[in-house]
């Protein structure tokens, strides 16, 4: 196994402004964030606060208006591997080719990329579906394909945009457990956007709470629970305290986002 090269993500004073009619809309205002190598960070915030926009700027899917973004893994063929909420896997490729896609784009040979992809399929327990097409899988299985595809690139940074957001509650809990286990083995630098406070606490080392539009950092909270983690932490009083602290930070913004929408 090669040594895992971790990465630091630094964003400085990133702003994103677009025009709606004649009016400028500030999606992000002077957003700064530094992410430690090998850490799992979650961003929570009211809808429309620009959390997804920030992630997409990091992933190169959207232009920033002003600001600086640096990623120490930028020399990797895939500087940051993206996991979308749903419909992100190619319906015209079978599961194996989907997982191997990033490797194929970075010029890996057939045998090697299929070897790595099969290995990742085994780790997400989908090896028997290697030649199936995505429409033959359940929603949870498709997201496991998407997650395996991101890990398989070997990219030091993973950006996840509500990767479990479209799943039903029970599948979601299962996937959270699997994601913790996978990440604890790999220790990639992960930045994940979610609207689920519990999910943020269970998965991450650090929760960034964002304010409503224009999006800025409202609070930066360290999550104290030991690794490896299990769902047992949900029963601890610290968990409840943390959850209500985050909710109190969010409540007003969520309400006003709800009313202006």
């Amino acid at each position: 196994m090669q040594p895992v090269d971790h990465a630091t993500v630094v964003a400085e004073d990133v702003s994103k402004v677009f025009f709606s009619g004649g009016e400028p809309v500030w999606a992000l205002e002077n957003f700064s964030l530094t992410i430690e190598p090998g850490s799992f960070t979650c961003i929570v915030g009211p809808s429309g606060c620009g959390k997804s926009t920030f992630l997409r700027i990091l992933g190169g899917l959207e232009e920033r208006t002003v600001g600086e973004v640096t990623m120490s893994g930028a020399d990797h063929p895939v500087p940051a591997a993206f996991v979308f909420q749903e419909h992100g896997v190619f319906p015209w490729m079978n599961v194996l080719d989907n997982v191997a896609f990033g490797l194929r784009m970075s010029g890996e040979g057939t045998r090697e990329r299929h070897g790595i992809a099969m290995d990742w399929l085994r780790r997400v327990r989908l090896e028997s579906f290697a030649s199936s097409y995505p429409h033959q899988l359940s929603g949870g299985m498709r997201q496991r394909v998407a997650i395996a595809r991101a890990f398989a690139t070997g990219s030091p940074v993973l950006l996840m945009d509500e990767p479990l957001g479209a799943l039903d509650a029970q599948t979601r809990m299962l996937m959270q457990e699997e994601l913790i286990a996978l990440w604890e083995q790999e220790r990639k630098t992960v930045l994940m956007v979610t609207h689920d406070i519990d999910e943020a606490i269970i998965l991450s080392d650090r929760v960034i709470v964002m304010s409503g539009r224009p999006g800025t950092v409202r609070e930066d909270i360290a999550v104290p629970f030991e690794r490896p983690r299990s769902f047992d932490i949900e029963r601890s009083p610290e968990f409840g305290e943390l959850r209500s602290r985050i909710w109190n930070l969010l409540r007003e913004d969520v309400r006003s986002a709800e009313e202006t929408a």
């Binding site: 899917l61 895939v78 993206f82 419909h87 319906p91 015209w92 990033g102 033959q136 690139t153």
Partner: protein
């Protein structure tokens, strides 16, 4: 599978009938003494689990049999109805209920078909029509798909040619035919070009819509995983547009058959199924007219079926 199924049915079958007896005994025992009723009750509880499962299975099988019967009936009806109509046509034509000069009996048409096949006359007309369809349509579709893909993925190209093509599209292509005749003379070329233009426009528009219909998430996934330039085109844009391309091909086939027939109707042609139909009308040979109609219909149906088959084969991810 079905064997074990059947044996298990047999073994529980006897238990089932015993249970049914117990139940009827229970029903008649309402006026009897308590001891007798508890006996009957006990008999029923003992046979209940197997009995109930058995009854449920019987009901489920009956349901399945009913569904199958209905499906078979639909299939029989769909085959029988056209046959009945044909027979009716035959009988009416023979009994002169309908005028056989306008509606020759199906057997008369078939006889004419056989004769024309034997003399080679049919191929003289079907051959050129097929050639025009395949050459004009094949080239037109290829060009339309390529231009559509380019316009779908290049904003500048689409801005330049999109409005122009949209303006040209509603022009009835057949109306251009005299211009083509004027330029190229009464040769094979203007007929092929007429088919080419028809398929080109249908395919160009279908392909552009196909590219635009690709889920934005998938294009972004391509970008996020490093697919740029030709790789993006080959692995994301091309397969993503394929469903629209195939439905466009089916539309284009129908339109091309219409245009080729119309072009052959004109005096500029002395071959082709369109000419056969037109000429048979002028000479008043109704059987041949119907043969032409039949063959052109078969050509259209075969082409469309081939396209559907190859779609299933080439786009396995759309199946199911």
């Amino acid at each position: 599978m079905s064997f074990t199924d059947r044996t298990s049915t047999g073994s529980t079958g006897s238990a089932g009938s015993a249970g049914a007896d117990g139940e009827s005994a229970d029903r008649t025992s309402t006026s009897r003494t308590t001891t007798e009723r508890t006996d009957a009750d006990r008999a029923r509880t003992e046979s209940t689990p197997a009995d109930r499962e058995q009854r449920t299975l019987v009901a489920a099988r009956a349901q399945r049999a009913r569904d199958r019967r209905l499906r078979t009936r639909d299939l029989v009806l769909s085959i029988a109805a056209p046959i009945v109509l044909l027979v009716l046509w035959e009988v009416c034509a023979r009994l002169l209920i309908i005028d056989p000069r306008f509606f020759p009996a199906p057997t008369t048409i078939l006889a004419a078909l056989g004769e024309m096949l034997a003399s080679g006359e049919l191929w003289e007309h079907a051959g050129p029509t097929l050639l025009r369809l395949l050459v004009g349509g094949g080239l037109g579709a290829s060009a339309g798909i390529v231009v559509g893909l380019l316009m779908g993925s290049s904003r500048a190209l689409n801005a330049a040619f999109g409005p122009l093509f949209s303006a040209l599209y509603p022009l009835p292509k057949i109306a251009i035919f005299p211009i083509l005749l004027m330029i190229f003379g009464p040769t094979e070329l203007p007929k092929i070009i007429a088919v080419f233009i028809t398929t080109f426009f249908v395919m160009q528009i279908a392909t552009v819509s196909g590219v635009w219909a690709i889920d934005r998430k998938l294009l972004e996934a391509g970008t996020a995983y490093g697919a740029t330039g030709f790789a993006r085109f080959r692995f994301v844009v091309l397969p993503g547009a394929m469903p629209f391309v195939f439905s466009g091909l089916k539309t284009a086939t129908g339109t091309a058959v219409v245009v080729v027939t119309a072009v052959e109707f004109t005096g500029a042609s002395t071959t082709g199924l369109g000419y056969l139909i037109w000429n048979s009308w002028q000479l008043f040979i109704p059987e041949k007219l119907y043969v032409g109609l039949l063959v052109i219909g078969i050509i259209g149906a075969v082409l469309t079926t081939l396209l559907s088959r190859s779609e299933k084969l080439l786009l396995p991810w759309r199946r199911g």
